[in-house]
Amino acid sequence: ELKVEQNPLFLSMQEGKNYTIYCNYSTTSDRLYWYRQDPGKSLESLFVLLSNGAVKQEGRLMASLDTKARLSTLHITAAVHDLSATYFCAVEPGNQFYFGTGTSLTVIP
């Protein structure tokens, strides 16, 4: 059974702090996706990581991919309240997308 596991599932962090969300997956996948979802809203694409060693950064978020370890990380630098949301990772073996259960992030002033 294919599994995509994120941890932590819930994260409460203070503004200005750094933290990392982890995404482990159990099957070979050349691509790894990160999405953001605000409460009651749809999903917004953050990053598409296309190969082993890929690193992408946008603002205070940086994502990386290690296909050999089947691990992706989403690092948050100097968190701000606007980053409060649920973050999902997903893999795509053979045209089918499999999502993690999400990490609910709350940034506290």
């Binding site: 694409s45 089918q96 259960t101």
Partner: protein, 113 residues
């Protein structure tokens, strides 16, 4: 943002009735997807399409069927709705270029009573 709309946005229906959800995209994307989102499960793929009249099953396809007669439209049908199909349904589309981006619609909240 890609132009993806879903209709209806909210629906309440009774057990045993058929329900059709519509997804419409204006980006000429080749790929389209239907997901359901439930607490504790993230998003799970129901069906997807890789072209007109080309569809395939996803992870949780039982009780659902799809059709794609035009590039821009992807329909999801619940032949006989059950309470376990109460969920939020998201449609997504993506092109086959190197970006591999997936763009999501606003979602449909379906309640089966």
């Amino acid at each position: 943002d890609a132009g993806i709309t879903q209709s209806p946005r909210h629906k309440v229906t009774e057990t045993g009735t058929p329900v059709t959800l519509r997804c419409h995209q204006t980006e000429n994307h080749r790929y389209m997807y239907w997901y359901r989102q439930d607490p504790g499960h993230g998003l799970r793929l129901i069906h997807y399409s890789y072209g007109v009249k080309d569809t395939d099953k996803g992870e949780v396809s039982d009780g659902y069927s799809v059709s794609r007669s035009k590039t821009e439209d992807f329909l999801l049908t619940l032949e006989s709705a059950t309470s376990s199909q109460t969920s939020v349904y998201f449609c997504a589309s993506g092109s086959s270029d190197l970006s591999y981006e997936q763009y999501f619609g606003p979602g449909t909240r379906l309640t089966v009573t």
